[in-house]
Amino acid sequence: MTAAALIAVLFGMLLLLIRAIAGPTLYDRVLAVNSFGTKTVLALGLLGFVMGRPQFLDIAILYALINFVSTIAILKFFRYRSFQVPLVRRGQGGGNG
């Protein structure tokens, strides 16, 4: 059962890879990379159960955190063209650095 789920997730990774390579706009690629990270997390968790070692779930959770942070960084780069702008604007004038 878990093996079937693992195969399905790997197939999904292949589809997302096609979208990331072919994706016409930048946001297709950002979304593809983010979903690909989620698929990696799922594949790692399932792989732990298929290999009989559910401790891999901890590693999968860590990957989820890293994936989230890097997606935030990419989107921030697109919104502001820089990493130096704080995400939360303080008051009125501090936003556009």
Binding site: A3, L6, L10, M13, L14, L17, A20, I21, G23, L26, R29, V30, A32, V33, F36, G37, T40, A43, L44, L47, V50, M51, G52, Q55, F56, I59, L62, Y63, I66, N67, V69, S70, A73, I74, F77, R81, S82, F83, Q84
Partner: protein, 212 residues
């Protein structure tokens, strides 16, 4: 793990992950849009991190996920700020040299794997030295199931601390160069670009800007 069917499944998973890596690598070499290449390098890091976990190199997988997928994507985007958005196409004749170097290196690496000892070979150098002692002693010393973790964090703790310091300093240097602070190289270049029309009128303004 003793049955043969999970081993075949595991080999299939390895083959699929390595195939994904191959496809991503070809796409990175063929694409011209730098942003797509950055995104694909993030995917490459994620796949290779998953593959490291699948072949039981959990610590390497950690490093690859944190540095490759997290940090280096941000660093590459910061580097993109300083250049153009697309790469110039190379002439096909000039691509021949790097291709030959890659093929030669690959052939040498494959030739070197022939001499590697088999997995679990009791006569291999890893098992005849102190490795077996660590395997026997580590659990009683630290109570951690994965032997790699106590070796890296406990027996060679100072070595790991030094490595971490080196990586931290390198990260700070790259961040200062690429634009994560006001005094970074990227910010200086951007300020010079902005102040270029003004610089003809008032040269003092640019001096004050770069100093402060």
């Amino acid at each position: 793990m003793a049955m043969s069917e999970p081993d075949i499944g595991l080999a299939l998973v390895n083959i699929v992950l390595l195939g994904l890596l191959f496809v991503v690598a070809i796409a990175i070499a063929r694409l011209r849009s730098l942003f797509a290449i950055v995104m694909l390098s993030g995917i490459y890091s994620l796949v290779s991190a998953a593959w490291y976990v699948a072949v039981d190199a959990v610590d390497v997988g950690f490093t690859e996920a944190a540095v490759g997928a997290g940090m280096s994507t941000a660093v590459l985007l910061g580097a993109m700020l300083l250049t153009s958005r697309t790469a110039k196409p190379e002439k096909s004749l000039r691509q021949l040299g790097p291709l030959l170097v890659c093929v030669a290196t690959g052939i040498m690496l494959i030739y070197a794997t022939v001499d590697l000892p088999a997995v679990g070979d009791p006569n291999s150098p890893a098992n005849t030295g102190v490795g077996l002692t660590y395997l026997r002693v580590a659990w009683y010393d630290t109570g951690i199931e994965n032997v790699v973790t106590p070796v890296l964090g406990s027996y060679r703790g100072f070595d790991t601390l030094g490595e971490t310091t080196v990586v931290f300093v390198a990260g700070i240097a790259v961040a200062l160069l690429l634009g994560f602070g006001e005094r970074s190289l990227a910010e200086t270049i951007r300020n010079e670009d902005k102040s270029l029309p003004k610089a003809n009128k008032k040269p003092e303004a640019e001096d004050g800007e770069t100093d402060s």
